[in-house]
């Protein structure tokens, strides 16, 4: 029983970390219809900024997260203007080509400036200790990640379902031309959504760095994982992303505990099974 609980808690933490990173991609893919393979590249940029701020400048963790999000969004603005605008509404394979190109460039440039070594983001004392939660010892930052995941999920749900912007966003997604005609400035809506998605990628990159360490190859190394999680959840769906992350996190964690040597088999077999049963993901929109 203790073991089960302990595995469950690990799975939950890992799933939440995945969720924070992936939800931004889910938004871009589901709402903006862009297969943004460079999503991880933005998370990685944020990781580098946070690492620089916290480790080299000695700023606090919270400040580092804040700077990373702002910095990454600022970096993303010209990229969105110059590159992404050209691929909105284009065929997916063209989007894949463009965003893989962007990923390669970001990796090359990062490697050039920061070198190929791992970069850590030092945690504040309060987050770096192991915490005894009764049945097991767990790192405090894992609790922090779970909390972040909850806040992000709730915040996004509120933003999309309960705010004026959310209404405009959904209208734009359903029918951009119609929304335009109704006076919604769709370009602005797209730009803001893109910024939000990038901001989430940045948050995920920094907070999730304890699971997925920051190094130049981050952007490619985890690309498949992100893409798989988003598709399984159903692109654009927050509950879908939550369920997919938690479920795949659970399969991954349990598989690795029970039969680590077949860990990948479990994970991908689960993916195949889920996709065959839910071809649009758990909460995917009809196409």
């Amino acid at each position: 029983m203790q073991t089960i609980l302990s595995i469950a808690i690990d799975a939950f933490a890992y799933g939440m970390a995945l969720f924070i990173i992936c939800i931004g991609l889910s938004l871009t893919m589901g709402l903006m219809r862009v297969v943004n393979l460079a999503h991880g590249a933005f998370a990685m940029i944020a990781g580098y900024i946070a690492s620089y701020a916290a480790r080299d400048l000695g700023l606090g963790y919270a400040v580092a997260i804040f700077l990373a999000i702002i910095g990454t969004v600022i970096i993303s603005i010209p990229i969105e203007r110059l590159l992404y605008r050209r691929i909105y509404g284009k065929p997916e394979l063209i989007q894949v080509l463009m965003t893989i190109g962007i990923t390669f460039c970001v990796i090359g440039i990062t490697n050039y400036f920061f070198g190929p070594t791992l970069k850590t983001i030092p945690l504040p004392g309060s987050l770096s200790q192991p915490v005894d939660i009764g049945f097991k010892t767990i790192a405090a930052h894992r609790l922090f990640v779970m909390a972040c995941g909850g806040v992000v999920a709730g915040g996004l749900w509120f933003l999309i379902e309960r705010t004026d912007f959310g209404i405009k966003l959904r209208a734009t997604v359903d029918n951009a031309a119609m929304a335009d005609a109704l006076g919604v400035r769709t370009q602005v809506v797209y730009a803001i959504s893109f910024a939000i998605a990038i901001g989430l990628a940045a948050l995920g990159g920094v907070v999730g760095a304890e699971f997925l360490p920051i190094e130049p190859y981050y952007a490619l190394r985890y690309m498949v994982t992100f893409l798989v999680v988003v598709s399984v959840g159903g692109a654009g769906s927050i509950p879908g992303a939550v369920v997919a992350c938690l479920l795949l996190g659970a399969v991954d964690t349990t598989g690795r505990y029970l039969m680590p040597e077949f860990g990948n088999f479990f994970f991908y077999a689960a993916v195949i099974a889920i996709v065959c049963v839910f071809p649009r993901g758990f909460f995917g929109r009809a196409q």
């Binding site: 690990d10 070594t117 791992l118 850590t120 097991k136 767990i138 690795r256 680590p260 990948n264």
Partner: protein, 393 residues
């Protein structure tokens, strides 16, 4: 189609011209390594080792100028490896091949050596079997079995009877698992469980749960350097295994110097065995570290592949000396059989039988230096270790 070939032709032609203009009495050495991609740091260390050697020992041997040509092979890719080796031999006319980080890449080059009349000096690729593929291969790195085996005795000496082994599920990991099991059981210990973890494991907490549940007194681990090692060591600390007194043994790949800053204080106390520590205390090493640091561009990026490359260049220089610039692979290899010298890592020699390096293996503990940075401190020496994998064959 034709047009594209034309463009390719012009560009490659331009490259060709560049290399032809070098004068005749230049001996070319082709180095293949991962200079980009996830393993770029290891490739950089190859380059640093080569440049350090040439800086300290000159760029010519017996009046023959040495020119080094680097070729990038970002990840294990035998087809590309063969293509690069072929290009280096046939087009660039290199007389010596060196480098090679991954085993399959070395395997793809060995069938070419005889026809190419070119020796291959391996700076890293650490599987025993490579040496048996061709008599023209010499290796200056280590094998996983070689660096791992002393751990068996070390563990029992420290009162550990039961160990759980956790290795990444790929060739070197499996080698390490087998080598440790053999050595540890020979010393009277028991491997209670052997876990093989997928290479792309991101979260190691479930593995740590397994370690805890197994009732072992220590964990033996082997993972490729980089994010996975970091994740593993972090999980080891965070899940309280360290506080619970479960010891951690591993080959030195896990605590290579370039990873230590990222591992931080969490790594303090880890026990690893390896052939080289940057902190090794000897005049040769001091000179080497100084030169190599300059070449690699930062002290914290220096790690073990550099010394493999450095000694590899030493072997190549000796080969050139013996053949006096003439291309004769067999003579070159014969000349270095039994060669012994003092490397930055300590006294070493090339085994005449296996052509693999015989070297000291050191037990090191990660400790915190006066400057607050962690480093590998050598605390025990196992002199003149051969590769057990080759010795038994």
């Amino acid at each position: 189609m034709k047009a594209s070939k034309g463009i390719l032709g012009a560009a490659i032609g331009a490259l060709l011209l560049g290399s032809v203009s070098a004068y005749a009495d230049t001996i070319k050495v082709g180095i293949i390594g991962p200079f980009s991609g996830p393993f770029a740091l290891q490739g950089k260390n190859f380059q640093a080792g080569v440049e350090a050697y040439m800086a300290l020992n000159g760029k010519s041997v017996k009046g023959h100028d040495i020119e080094v040509i680097y070729r990038d092979l970002p990840a294990a890719n035998p087809a590309q490896s063969r293509a690069l080796a072929q290009e280096l031999v046939v087009k660039e006319k290199v007389q010596y091949l060196g480098g090679v980080y991954f085993t399959p890449d070395a395997m793809a080059i060995t069938p070419l050596l005889k026809q190419a009349n070119t020796p291959l000096v391996i700076f890293n690729a650490a599987t025993s079997a490579i040496m048996t593929q061709s008599p023209l291969v010499v290796r200056t790195s280590f094998t996983t079995a070689q660096t791992t085996s002393p751990l068996g005795k070390i563990a029992t000496e420290r009162g550990v009877k039961k160990v759980i082994s956790a290795v990444s599920d790929y060739g070197p990991g499996v080698d390490a698992e087998a080598a440790f099991k053999k050595a540890f059981e020979a010393a009277g210990g028991q491997v209670v469980e052997a876990i093989r973890m997928p290479l792309n494991t991101n979260d190691f907490s479930p593995i740590m749960q397994r370690v805890r549940d197994s009732g072992a007194e220590a964990v033996f681990a082997f993972l490729p350097s980089g994010p996975t090692t970091l994740g593993f060591v972090k999980a080891y600390n965070e899940t309280g295994l360290k506080q619970a007194g479960i010891k951690f043994f591993a080959p030195g790949d896990l605590t290579q110097e370039s990873d230590l800053p990222a591992l931080g204080d969490g790594a303090v106390g880890l026990l690893t065995t390896f052939h080289y520590a940057v902190s090794h205390d000897s005049p040769e090493n001091k000179k080497f570290v100084e030169a190599a640091t300059k070449a690699v561009g930062g002290a914290e990026q220096l790690s073990f592949p550099s010394v493999g490359a450095y000694d590899g260049m030493h072997v190549i220089y000796k080969m050139i000396e013996a053949t006096d610039g003439k291309q004769d692979a067999q003579k070159a290899v014969d000349a270095v059989k039994g060669l012994s010298w003092t490397s930055p890592r300590g006294p070493v020699s090339i085994d005449a039988e296996t052509r693999h390096i015989t070297e000291n293996i050191y037990l090191r503990e990660v400790v915190k230096g006066p400057d607050g940075k962690t480093f590998n401190k050598e605390i025990q020496t196992f002199p003149n270790q051969k590769d057990p994998g080759l010795a038994t064959q």
